[in-house]
């Protein structure tokens, strides 16, 4: 089979055109794939964050409990002082109880 050089040239030109387009597409594809990989990674991270958020929400204290805990913290110092005073009074009372009786 013989082909006219013009046709052969056309074939090669077509191959060059398609090849060039293919190379351009390759580069564009690389950019698209990079963006896709980035978005996939973001989606994966978001999924992880959602799971973590569900876990965090399940462990969150109720609002009233949180308010009570905060109030307790505020009262803690006062209670510590009260307990310290009570200990002192008890110790004093104990010492009085075990003291030898006064000789009449």
């Amino acid at each position: 089979m013989k082909l006219h050089p013009g046709w052969s040239l056309a074939l090669l030109a077509g191959a060059a055109i398609f090849g060039g387009g293919w190379i351009i597409q390759q580069r564009e594809g690389e950019a698209l794939r990079a963006e896709r990989d980035l978005l996939r990674e973001q989606r994966r991270q978001a999924e992880v964050q959602r799971v973590w958020q569900t876990e965090l929400r399940s462990r969150q204290p109720a609002d009233d409990e949180l308010a009570r805990l905060r109030a307790d913290r505020a009262a803690l110092e006062r209670l510590r002082a009260e307990v310290a005073a009570s200990r002192a009074r008890v110790e004093q009372a104990e010492s009085l109880r075990v003291a030898p009786p006064v000789k009449r």
């Binding site: 089979m1 013989k2 082909l3 050089p5 052969s8 074939l11 090669l12 077509g14 191959a15 060059a16 055109i17 398609f18 090849g19 387009g21 293919w22 597409q25 390759q26 564009e28 594809g29 698209l32 794939r33 963006e35 896709r36 978005l39 996939r40 973001q42 989606r43 991270q45 978001a46 964050q49 959602r50 973590w52 958020q53 965090l56 929400r57 462990r59 969150q60 204290p61 409990e65 949180l66 805990l69 905060r70 307790d72 913290r73 009262a75 803690l76 209670l79 510590r80 009260e82 307990v83 009570s86 200990r87 009074r89 008890v90 009372a93 104990e94 009085l96 109880r97 009449r104």
Partner: protein
């Protein structure tokens, strides 16, 4: 300078296409015949090979312009080209098919039995000859030159050319004999001059010259392109494969891009606010951490509350105990008389008073009323004589009572202090008589029966309640 040299130079330097066409016309039968033999009579491949050889000649025309015997180069080049074409599966198949055609060709054009045996080995035997011998034979028999022309081409005299041809013919015959082809030099000369040089197809020279010129006239790149073009099926296949491959790659990549874009649209549309999620998770984690600390504080708070409660109870108990103790002390400090008690004190031990010796010697008797307090433990406190018949008896009585032990009196279930008075009578045994109790303090009656201490003259005193 030969015609070949001159024409090739003109073509190479001046682009004289007619000169190149003359070279082609002069040598095409040689090239075609060698190709035809090498390709076992495949006229199509022989045509392709001829085209390739002359295309190559056009490309190398400048270098070959100085070559004295162009026919020798053409012979060698044709063998190389046909050897390349022979290689490969398709060429083998084509050769098998061409063998049938070759039979018909030889049957019609070369019935000579010598030629039948000579044809397959002739070119190999020629190739083994030294190039001057080979060129002499080619010029003489393939191109049909006379000895003078052969001598001119080989820079020899006519006689020397004849001798060269004859010796070359002998050498060729010897090589053919080694290949099993027996022939005389004369018969060999006849065979070489006949079917060894079939004429190329009509018009091939013009076509080859045209195509060679169309490619070889300009640059080497164009010559290579022309070379490639004349590969026939090969270039069509390669070009088509390139086109199809590139197009397929383009289509596949386009399809891949479409899928990628669709996935990107979906991924973008999902709108994952990663930063927002992370921010919210940090807030939740902070709250959780604060709750953890608060719970720890709350545990301490609860523990402190419990401790405070325990301390409070303990303190209450201690205060109550202290109060009870105080009340008990107060109760113990209170003095009761016998008629106020629920249960009177009971003496458990009563020491005898010492009778003053001078009073006993003098026979002086008497009594002492001793007042004392029986404590909650049963001990005697504050013993003192409140009345006596003789002062000398008071100290002995009080001292003895101080050592007495009692079971404490009880009031409302508790031991209490009780104030008692008891008369102690001192008597001498042989003058026993009742003591004059209350003689010194009549208004204060003793609260207990008299405790009599009676002494015999030498015996120990014996208490008598």
């Amino acid at each position: 300078m030969s015609e070949d040299t001159d024409q090739l130079r003109r073509y190479a330097e001046e682009g004289d296409q007619e000169a190149f066409a003359a070279v082609v016309r002069r040598h095409i039968d040689l090239v075609y015949s060698v190709a035809l033999r090498q390709l076992n009579g495949d006229v199509h491949l022989a045509t392709d090979a001829t085209q390739l050889v002359f295309t190559d000649l056009a490309r190398k025309s400048r270098a070959l312009a100085s070559h004295q015997v162009l026919a020798g180069w053409l012979f060698t080049s044709t063998r190389f080209v046909t050897a390349k074409l022979v290689r490969g599966e398709r060429r083998r198949q084509a050769r098998e098919q061409a063998a049938l055609r070759m039979e018909a060709f030889m049957r019609n054009d070369a019935p000579d039995a010598d030629w039948d045996r000579l044809r397959p080995v002739l070119d190999d035997a020629l190739a083994e000859l030294a190039h001057l011998d080979r060129e002499a034979l080619i010029l003489r028999f393939f191109e049909g030159r006379d000895y003078r022309t052969v001598g001119a081409r080989l820079a020899l005299s006519e006689n020397a050319a004849r001798m060269r041809v004859e010796r070359a013919l002998d050498k060729l015959r010897a090589r053919l004999v080694r290949r099993g082809v027996e022939s005389s030099a004369a018969l060999l000369a006849v065979a070489l001059a006949g079917p060894a040089m079939p004429a190329a197809p009509v018009g091939l020279a013009a076509a080859v010259a045209g195509k060679a010129l169309s490619g070889g006239a300009s640059a080497a790149g164009w010559a290579a392109w022309t070379h490639f073009m004349h590969l026939g099926n090969l270039h069509v296949g390669v070009s088509g494969a390139l086109l199809v491959g590139a197009a397929a790659g383009w289509v596949v990549e386009s399809h891949d891009h479409a899928a990628l874009r669709a996935e990107l649209v979906e991924l973008r549309a999902s709108g994952d606010d990663l930063a927002g999620l992370e921010r919210e998770n940090r807030r939740l984690a902070d709250v959780l951490g604060e709750a953890g600390e608060l719970r720890r504080d709350d545990a301490e708070f609860t523990r402190l509350q419990e401790e405070a409660s325990l301390l409070q109870r303990r303190l209450t108990t201690l205060v109550r105990a202290a109060e009870e103790k105080a009340r008990a002390a107060q109760a113990a400090a209170a003095l009761y008389s016998l008629n106020e008690l629920d249960q009177a004190p009971v003496a458990r031990f009563q020491a005898r008073p010492q009778y003053p010796a001078e009073l006993r010697a003098a026979g002086i008797e008497g009594s002492v009323v001793v007042e004392f307090v029986v404590g909650t433990e049963g001990d005697v406190e504050h013993a003192r004589a409140v009345r006596s018949t003789h002062p000398a008896l008071e100290s002995a009585a009080a001292e003895a009572v101080t050592r007495w032990k009692f079971k404490a009196g009880r009031k409302d279930g508790r031991d209490v202090r009780t104030r008692l008075q008891i008369p102690i009578v001192f008597t001498v045994a042989d003058r026993s008589r009742p003591p004059a109790a209350g003689s010194s303090n009549a208004e204060s009656a003793p609260t207990s029966p008299p405790f009599t201490v009676q002494y015999s003259g030498s015996g120990a005193p014996s208490p008598r309640p």
